[in-house]
């Protein structure tokens, strides 16, 4: 039930993007859809905050409104003015029974360092769910999910959703080396194909090289869904173009407001600028002007 609603939501939002949001002049004319998910600001309690690999942490948060795979939320990491802006993170799972949402994050700079130091019981100022997530391609014969590094979160969430829906999917995860593979049951449950740059585990090479190693017949009428570093997204896009299949990419851009107000987070599309936080973060890869 819950998942079906989401799909409708996403489908309609994506429709908005291409038919209403981008005028001919390339500017944005965001029209509020009645199906748009309602975001809220909450003080969520941290239920767990565990290191799952040398670089990655998983955080579980209470009292989340229901998100869809590919949507994100923003966190104010501290009351101080450094870091100042809220930081965006994708949902990596959601339990509708308990209202518990999860995320997987990498300790990089000031905000994620503070987050990593938080204890269960501490609260965090959260705004979400935000943006438009993945749209499951109902007509696809097979769903190929590709995650690179910390792009893992939203792809895992999508995999959960596909599994629940009983759809046929493959989960591909790429990282530099074996030690970086996250120690996470949710991850292992999807029977992931692991690609390591150094060949220390699984496929020797990156995720795009893995995709290219697949037979054409295998990817026929497949749909690609991907999140990760920019070169990987572009590689997936080119691969999909080449095979004539659809590809959805989750884009990253520095955000200020996260809710579509500041015009700060734009990506260039073949129809002008779009806001990653509002028309995205997930886009059909063919609309993006790949640099």
């Amino acid at each position: 039930m819950h998942c079906t609603t989401k799909s409708v939501q996403i489908a309609i939002s994506n429709f908005n993007l291409h038919d209403q949001c981008l005028g001919n002049s390339g500017q944005l004319t965001h029209t509020k859809s009645i199906f748009e998910p309602m975001n809220t600001q909450t003080k969520s309690q941290i239920i767990a905050n565990t290191q799952v690999s040398p670089d990655f942490y998983e955080m579980q948060l209470s009292a989340s409104p229901p998100p869809a795979p590919g949507q994100f939320f923003t966190i104010r990491a501290s009351d101080s003015t450094v870091p100042l802006l809220r930081r965006p993170f994708a949902y990596s799972s959601f339990d509708p029974k308990t209202g518990t949402a999860s995320m997987i994050y990498q300790k990089l700079g000031p905000a994620t360092e503070i987050m990593a130091s938080k204890q269960p019981g501490d609260t965090l100022d959260i705004i979400g769910p935000l943006g438009i997530g993945f749209e499951v391609q109902k007509k696809a014969s097979k769903h190929i999910l590709v995650a690179g590094g910390v792009g893992l979160g939203p792809v895992l969430f999508l995999a959960d959703h596909l599994k629940e829906s009983g759809l046929d999917y493959t989960f591909v995860f790429g990282c530099r080396t074996k030690a970086q593979i996250p120690d996470l049951r949710q991850f292992r449950e999807h029977g992931p194909v692991v690609c390591t740059d150094d060949g220390s585990d699984g496929f020797h090479g990156n995720t795009v090289q893995y995709l290219e190693s697949l037979e054409r017949a295998y990817t026929d009428r497949a749909a690609l869904y991907t999140c990760g570093p920019h070169p990987m997204l572009k590689g997936c896009h080119l691969f999909a173009q080449n095979r004539g299949i659809s590809c959805q990419v989750s884009m990253e851009q520095t955000m200020a407001c996260g809710v579509g107000a500041c015009m700060g987070c734009v990506e260039k599309t073949n129809d002008g600028y779009v806001r990653v936080c509002q028309e995205g973060p997930v886009f059909e890869s063919r609309v993006i002007e790949w640099a």
């Binding site: 390339g26 500017q27 004319t29 975001n39 450094v82 802006l85 809220r86 407001c257 579509g260 107000a261």
Partner: protein, 309 residues
């Protein structure tokens, strides 16, 4: 205490218009209002200063457009906006139903453009005043920002004033040697109020990529980092002109707002603070009311008289 607070007059007069509270949201940080619908209590707001409105729609600058700096942010949005026609037809219907005052922020690259935008807005209902963003470069004047040149400020203000039935708020740029002479030029030209300040010119260089982070090179610095500069300018401007002053710059909480109001501002705007926590404007509105209550002030505008001098 509850009773006491109810009798406090939180409204603020700007020329002929009245804002329900002294707490506005700053241009460019609140879009066209609807974006914050589920997050903000509009009835606590004094006014929404909209994203800049220009004659034609503007796609804005290359990305990245935002970078965080120590206690601040640097932005280079490039006045991305839907243009005045769509603003009137698509944004105003939503905005005019809100309980707070709506004040479009007008930008242009020639006097004619400012005039054309204002003329179209004159025909639109539900607007209480205009905020004129004079930080824009004047393309007919060597690209020098209107707001850095007193004669240009006075002429632009008086031309707009002559065609406007609504109060004019001139928004000053801080990137000047003496902001008080610019404020006086605006007053001379007939401005009903002054907004103080817009962003400071700043730059961050990506030393790995060996180029400025913002493709435009420089951007506008805002946030708590600039607050001391903004308070100083508000203090000086409030003593240089006799029209109301609206304080802006790095306001994050009630104490920050009080600093601007004690410096002489009758109202304030929250900009970057809205990004950080959209509940900040309403917290400040409540905080100012509490302050008045505990200091036996019957009228929020009395705060600006608390500082001698």
């Amino acid at each position: 205490m509850g009773n006491k607070h109810q009798s406090i007059d939180m409204s603020v007069k700007i020329g002929s218009c009245t804002l329900p509270t002294p707490v506005g949201v700053a241009s460019g940080t609140f879009g066209y209002g609807s974006e914050y619908e589920s997050l903000v209590d509009f009835s606590a707001l004094g006014a929404i200063f909209t994203k800049a409105v220009t004659l034609k729609p503007r796609p804005g600058n290359e990305m990245p457009r935002i970078i965080e700096t120590p206690s601040g942010i640097l932005n280079s949005i490039g006045l991305a906006n839907v243009g005045v026609d769509q603003f009137v037809s698509e944004k105003m219907p939503y905005l005019r139903e809100l309980p707070c005052a709506i004040i479009p922020n007008i930008a242009g690259s020639t006097e004619e453009e400012y005039i054309a935008v204002l003329e179209r807005l004159e025909k639109c209902e539900g607007i209480v005043a205009y905020e004129i963003n004079i930080s824009c470069p004047n393309v007919k004047h060597g690209g020098i920002a209107f707001g850095t040149d007193c004669p240009q400020v006075e002429t632009l203000t008086s031309k707009l004033k002559s065609i406007s039935t609504r109060p004019l708020i001139i928004k000053l740029t801080p990137n000047v040697t003496d902001i008080t002479v610019v404020a006086r030029a605006a007053e001379q030209g007939g401005a009903d109020a002054i907004s103080c300040i817009n962003t400071l010119v700043g730059m961050v260089i990506d030393t790995n990529k060996r180029r400025p982070v913002l493709p435009a090179g420089t951007g506008g610095l805002s946030g708590p980092a600039v607050r001391p500069v903004a308070v100083a300018m508000t203090y000086r401007v409030a003593r240089a002109v006799s029209i109301p002053v609206i304080g802006i710059g790095g306001i994050m909480n009630t104490d920050d707002a009080l600093q601007f109001m004690m410096a002489g501002a009758c109202a304030i705007q929250v900009g970057t603070g809205v990004f950080v926590d959209p509940s900040i404007p309403q917290s400040i509105a409540h905080g100012l009311q509490n302050f008045c209550g505990s200091h036996d002030l019957g009228d929020v505008s009395e705060i600006s008289k608390l500082l001698p001098g």
